[in-house]
Point group: C2
Chain length 189, copies 2
């Protein structure tokens, strides 16, 4: 898909396929409906593992090239065995990943060749919330900061516009800043 | 840490250490301040990779036992090369992971022995939002559903209460349902 010899591939993004996909969805809006899924299994202690195998969208069911897995655990200082990052750390990864997905696509669409995109994401949290020690402290992060370093064959203003467009069209940025209704159901039998 | 022969270990959670940790934080609330961090690097196309190495909390700096990494990419149907789940899928994993961290700890504290905790998390998203095709469609998930199967040596009501307490004290559930302020900074030099 990413043949650097062709005109349409930039930053590893096949812009011809990208624009054709957008045209197809624009002509048939039902194709835009997606459902993503994970399945999680408790391993022991605070250690658990999610698998990512399938999703629906573009009018059909799809499987990932392989079933991906991600382990999560609490670190030792939070009484876990540190078999992976915490769920809270994966939120920061999800945000960095989604913004960077968008930056690559948007830069390619604007014919900007990127040479480097790195980011650091930090989140501050006061655990008095989850420990139930204060009603005035929330459970989650009080704030999150994302710091991008981006380089490419465009001027400073254009590179900043690419990041801004990605931010303004990011699924995860929207979820993390605006929230989503979440239903939790339980079966015990 | 998880010696099944001792009284204090249940579900792989060392409850003596858990309660001692809560007591220490309760006596010195500054210990509750944590900062989690990820560093993300663009690999090519929509493929990028985060690393999880260090965080601060409990009055000091900490390193994970090893530096964990997570790859993210768009699937083929979204013009990526499917080198990993999307950022949006990692949000669902973060939520399942955080709720399951809490279930293990809370069950252990309540002296409930768990035998199985699995969950499926689904999120519905209409990509007309991120594609900029409709101002009335949000970028992120319209809704998320979490379905737990939980089994252990407690009655139905107790098992449901454990899930509910985890939900009510989950950092990621709070972030995903209520949102967090996010600052995005860009350096181009």
């Amino acid at each position: 898909m990413s043949d650097p010899e062709t005109d349409t591939v930039r930053n590893g993004v096949d812009t011809a396929t990208l624009f054709a996909t957008l045209d197809a969805v624009n002509a048939q809006r039902e194709l835009a409906k997606f459902q993503f899924r994970v399945r999680n299994q408790w391993v022991g202690g605070t250690h658990n593992r999610s698998s990512f195998s399938d999703f629906s969208g573009a009018g059909g069911e799809h499987e990932h090239v392989e079933t991906y897995t991600a382990d999560a655990d609490h670190p030792n200082v939070l009484v876990g065995n540190d078999n992976g990052p915490t769920g809270a750390e994966y939120v920061l990864h999800a945000l960095a990943a989604c913004l960077t997905h968008g930056i690559a696509n948007i830069a390619a669409a604007r014919k900007v060749n990127l040479t480097e995109v790195t980011s650091t994401v930090t989140g501050d949290v006061d655990l008095q919330g989850i420990f139930g020690m204060s009603d005035e402290v929330r459970n989650g992060y009080s704030n999150i900061r994302v710091s991008f370093d981006i380089k490419g064959d465009a001027d400073d203003e254009t590179l900043r516009e690419i990041v801004e467009q990605s931010r303004s069209r990011s699924a995860v940025f929207d979820v993390v800043t605006n929230g989503v209704p979440v239903d939790v159901n339980v079966a015990t039998a």
